[in-house]
């Protein structure tokens, strides 16, 4: 296209019109003068002059008027030309191809860009039909221009593929419209590149999706409100969900464990506000099924569907946590002290045991510390660190280094330490792993061993027991003390080196090796009463105890044989004495008792006689009680107290006992109240011992209760393992005196009891305690001024019998 030169409508035109006008006017004046000639010359002249002036003035006026109008037109036209020129420049320079066409579809003009685009010259294009553009065979117009639409005044957009003259495939976007003058204008835009990019983008987007979808980490995208927009497959698995709908659209906070809520909110707002990736954090989540998981979370702001969103990558570390907790547990369960340091001897961790001796609260506190920060002395730390260095530099582990250590609290300990260099993947030493045992005890023991060995020897030689030491494997006697030589009348020579079952006194006990081995297996055997024969045939009554213990790494059997011959003789005489004494002492007492009873029954006794007889009854009763107590004590002390348990109705026993004590209670102005008696129909105990124990406690209560108080209560509680019987009175046992007296001891009496009851033997509670204990129960009491005294005794339940 060409610039059109500006047309100049000079003032000449206006001047010409004015001159023509003046000429006509002049001609008219001249001709009119000649034609008219009616007036005298002067008047004619003046009138002619007037006409001339008149005509010239009007002509000038016209001239200006017309000139102005013409100028204006001139300017508009020039502007138009200007615009047109600019338009052509624009079209030519446009980055889009532009084509103009006539109303009958012939190309009238194209710009340079379009020419370049299709690789043709302008002349080759203009004058051809639009529908054949760009005139290559391959360019098939798949969607021909919709002239019908164009003619209606609509703008028609179409996308078409064209092959230019150089053979390149182009994708163009084409916009066509009909101009007001009935011509067409089309704008072609080459979108080949954009299309290619779009295609690639689509491909990469697909890849990205694929990647995210199949990521081994769970990936969640949520919007600024926390609403979940996207989740991948792994998330389903992690959250234990079956369908994505279970999560998508819900608030992400719904799945955050309460412990982590604050953290998640903080990270979410930070991520959105600062638009930065956040470092990994540990957060807890709640699965669909309600269980919780611990996960490592990384979050980053992203654009999702054009909007700001947060993408979180979640890695389940529950298992890792478990594994690391398990390892921690293992490390903490080991009695050894374990620590690990980096190349510069800075602690990276330890087990709890180590942290504790180092004076720290927990193993977490040790990270970043050095030995100088811990409990030990400076010189010790120097030594530890130097030692670390040696191990790391030489790259050789050191095992079992024994060294001293000052522990928290100033305790001096001995340690046996092992240190192992730690390597990275490339084999470089990156740190050190140390473990040590506290061997203070062992060192002390070793020191004491010699001493104790000597002590043992002395004890062995001087023991009152006969001792034989045996080899556990062979049963061979390895040592004997002098005492056994006396007892069995064998010399050391005759014993040592022999097997135990070859020596005649033991032949019956340990008949053969098999039996001996069986004894050894049990580690401990005891025979309380054993008759063995000495070398000369004397019967020896012995206690035989066989112990197996370890000395160093060898097992030793020690036989202790205690001669009980004398003791048995003594005991037999004691038992005989007791049974005789019990009978012989009781017989005259019972005679006196019955005779007095018979006498008191006599009619006609005077008040004086009755009173004296009652004194005798009282005195006799005291003697009877004392004898009973003494006999009981003897029985207990000689081990003759026999427990004969059976199933009894304890409730009935208590009721009967209380009934039998009623007259005595009345005499003392006391009243026994049974306040709680559960079902006691089948209680497994010795009725005689229980009866006697309760009677003792109740009669004690009569005596020691406060004088003005009346009620003594007895109650039984059915507990899980036993029955608890408690007997309460309003008395107070003053045991605040400086000499602590155990009321359950023989002949012991409470501080105030000799005032209250001078005749007591001091044996009642001792006997009661022994009886209760012989039945497997316990007895105790509580006492204070306000609430009085409670005696408690228990009867153990026999699970098998009940």
């Amino acid at each position: 296209m060409e610039n059109t030169n500006k047309k100049k409508y000079y003032n000449k035109s206006a001047l010409r019109i004015a001159l023509i006008y003046i000429l006509i006017s002049a001609l008219w004046i001249i001709f009119s003068d000649r034609l008219l000639l009616t007036n005298p010359d002067t008047i004619l002249f003046l009138s002619t002059l007037k006409g001339w002036v008149y005509t010239i003035v009007i002509g000038i006026f016209f001239y200006f008027l017309i000139n102005r109008e013409l100028n204006r037109r001139n300017q508009i036209e020039n502007n138009l030309i200007d615009i047109k020129n600019k338009y052509y420049v624009l079209i030519d320079l446009a980055a889009d191809g532009i084509m103009l066409g006539s109303h009958d579809g012939i190309i009238t003009d194209v710009n340079r860009y379009l020419c370049d685009m299709v690789g043709l010259k302008k002349e080759d294009i203009i004058g051809k039909e639009i529908k054949h553009f760009p005139f290559t065979k391959e360019s098939i117009d798949k969607n021909p221009l919709r002239f019908d639409l164009l003619n209606k005044g609509e703008i028609v957009d179409s996308e078409r593929e064209i092959i230019n003259s150089l053979g390149s495939k182009l994708i163009v976007e084409m916009r066509t419209r009909m101009m007001p003058d009935g011509t067409y204008q089309s704008i072609y835009r080459d979108i080949t590149n954009r299309k290619n990019v779009e295609e690639k983008l689509e491909e990469s987007e697909k890849k990205y999706h694929e990647l995210i979808e199949n990521s081994p980490d769970a990936i969640i995208v949520y919007d600024t409100e926390g609403k979940i927009l996207f989740i991948n497959k792994e998330t389903l698995f992690l959250m234990n969900a079956t369908k994505k709908e279970e999560l998508i659209g819900k608030s992400v906070m719904q799945f955050v464990h309460p412990d982590s809520k604050a953290l998640v909110i903080e990270r979410m707002s930070k991520s959105l506000k600062e638009k930065i990736d956040l470092p990994i954090a540990e957060e807890k989540f709640i699965k669909i099924d309600g269980s919780s998981i611990k996960a490592e979370v990384k979050s980053m702001p992203i654009k999702f569907n054009g909007k700001l969103a947060v993408q979180v990558i979640i890695r389940d570390i529950t298992d890792r946590e478990k594994a690391s907790n398990f390892l921690k547990l293992v490390v903490n369960s080991i009695p050894d002290f374990i620590f690990w340091k980096d190349r510069n001897s800075i602690f990276l961790g330890s087990n709890e045991a180590f942290a504790k001796v180092a004076g720290l609260q927990s193993s977490e506190d040790i990270i970043g510390k050095t030995d100088y920060d811990l409990n030990w002395k400076k010189e010790e730390s120097d030594a530890f660190i130097a030692d670390d260095r040696r191990v790391m530099e030489s790259n050789t582990a050191k095992y079992h280094i024994i060294e001293p250590q000052l522990q928290a609290g100033g305790k001096q300990a001995w340690l046996e330490t092992s240190k192992v260099p730690l390597h990275d993947d490339e084999g470089q030493v990156v740190g050190i792993l140390g473990s040590y045992m506290d061997i203070t005890e062992r060192i002390n023991i070793e020191e004491k061993l010699e001493e104790s060995e000597e002590k043992f020897r002395r004890l062995f030689e001087s023991a009152k027991d006969s001792i034989l030491l045996l080899d556990v494997d062979t049963g061979e006697i390895t040592d004997s003390n002098p005492f056994i030589q006396d007892l069995l009348e064998y010399s050391a020579k005759e014993l040592i080196g022999k097997k135990i079952f070859e020596i005649s006194p033991f032949r019956d006990i340990i008949e053969n090796k098999e039996k001996f081995n069986e004894l050894i297996k049990k580690n401990y055997i005891r025979y309380d009463n054993l008759d063995i024969l000495s070398k000369t045939g004397k019967i020896k009554y012995v206690e035989f105890v066989l112990n197996v213990y370890t000395v160093g790494d060898k097992k030793v059997v020690q036989c202790n044989i205690r001669d009980l011959t004398e003791k048995r003789e003594l005991e037999e005489s004691k038992v005989g004495f007791l049974s005789i004494a019990s009978h012989q002492l009781r017989t005259p007492l019972s005679m006196t008792k019955w005779v007095l009873d018979a006498l008191l029954k006599e009619k006609g006794l005077t008040v004086f006689q009755k009173s004296k007889l009652n004194d005798l009854v009282y005195s006799n009763e005291r003697l009877i009680n004392l004898v009973e107590d003494l006999l009981n004590v003897s029985m207990i002390e000689t081990g003759k107290l026999i427990v004969n348990k059976k199933l009894i109705d304890l409730g009935k026993l208590i009721n009967d006992l209380v009934a039998s004590l009623k007259s005595l209670a009345d005499k003392k102005k006391k009243n026994i109240k049974i306040i709680n008696l559960p079902n006691l129909k089948e209680v497994y105990c010795d009725p005689i011992l229980i009866n006697e124990s309760l009677e003792n406690l109740l009669t004690n209560a009569f005596v020691y209760a406060k004088e003005d108080s009346k009620d003594i209560t007895i109650s039984v509680e059915d507990r899980e393992d036993d029955y608890l019987i408690s007997i309460h009175n309003e008395g107070y046992i003053d045991d605040s005196s400086s000499e602590k007296i155990n009321l359950f001891d023989k002949f012991s009496r409470g501080a105030n009891s000799s005032v209250i009851e001078p005749t007591g033997s001091g044996l009642g509670l001792f006997i009661t305690k022994k009886m209760v204990e012989a039945s497997g129960g316990t007895i105790w009491f509580t006492s204070n001024i306000e609430s009085g005294t409670n005696f408690y005794l228990t009867i153990v339940k026999n699970k098998l019998k009940e």
Binding site: S582, T587, S590, M591, D597, K601, I642
Partner: protein, 133 residues
């Protein structure tokens, strides 16, 4: 319950005369018929001959002691169920246990003489014989 009818016969086997007599007097005054023996041999003989309603038996006695007599009595077809109260001064929980093993514990009881008054003994005898005053 029964009254003392056809006079209940009681056998006292006791070597101590004072005790034996005191008890006999008291029981006679209560209206019982009383037979006495002073050792186990005589006691067993009288028991088997007279089949008394109740035997009051001491344990420590000359010739044949109470426990031996008791065992022999229990071996007899009548004596097997004869009611017996052992009245003794012997400290003898072991002996009592032994006596219990002889059988039929419901036909037998044990009283320590010092533990009961004469009154108490009579009450126990009556109870044993199902007698009310």
């Amino acid at each position: 319950m029964d009254k003392i009818t056809k006079k209940n016969v009681l056998l006292i086997v006791e070597d101590e005369k004072v005790l034996s007599n005191t008890l006999e007097e008291r029981l006679l005054s209560e209206g019982f018929n009383v037979i006495k023996a002073f050792d186990g041999e005589e006691g067993l003989k009288l028991a088997l001959e007279n089949h008394p309603d109740l035997i009051l038996l001491d344990l420590l006695m000359p010739k044949v002691d109470g426990l031996t007599m008791f065992k022999k009595l229990r071996a007899d077809s009548w004596g097997e169920y004869a009611p017996v109260i052992i009245l003794t001064n012997a400290d003898s929980s072991s002996k009592v246990a032994e006596a219990m093993d002889v059988g039929h514990s419901d036909t037998f009881e044990y009283i320590l003489k010092t533990s009961l008054s004469l009154e108490g003994v009579v009450a126990r005898i009556k109870k044993r014989l199902n007698i009310t005053n």
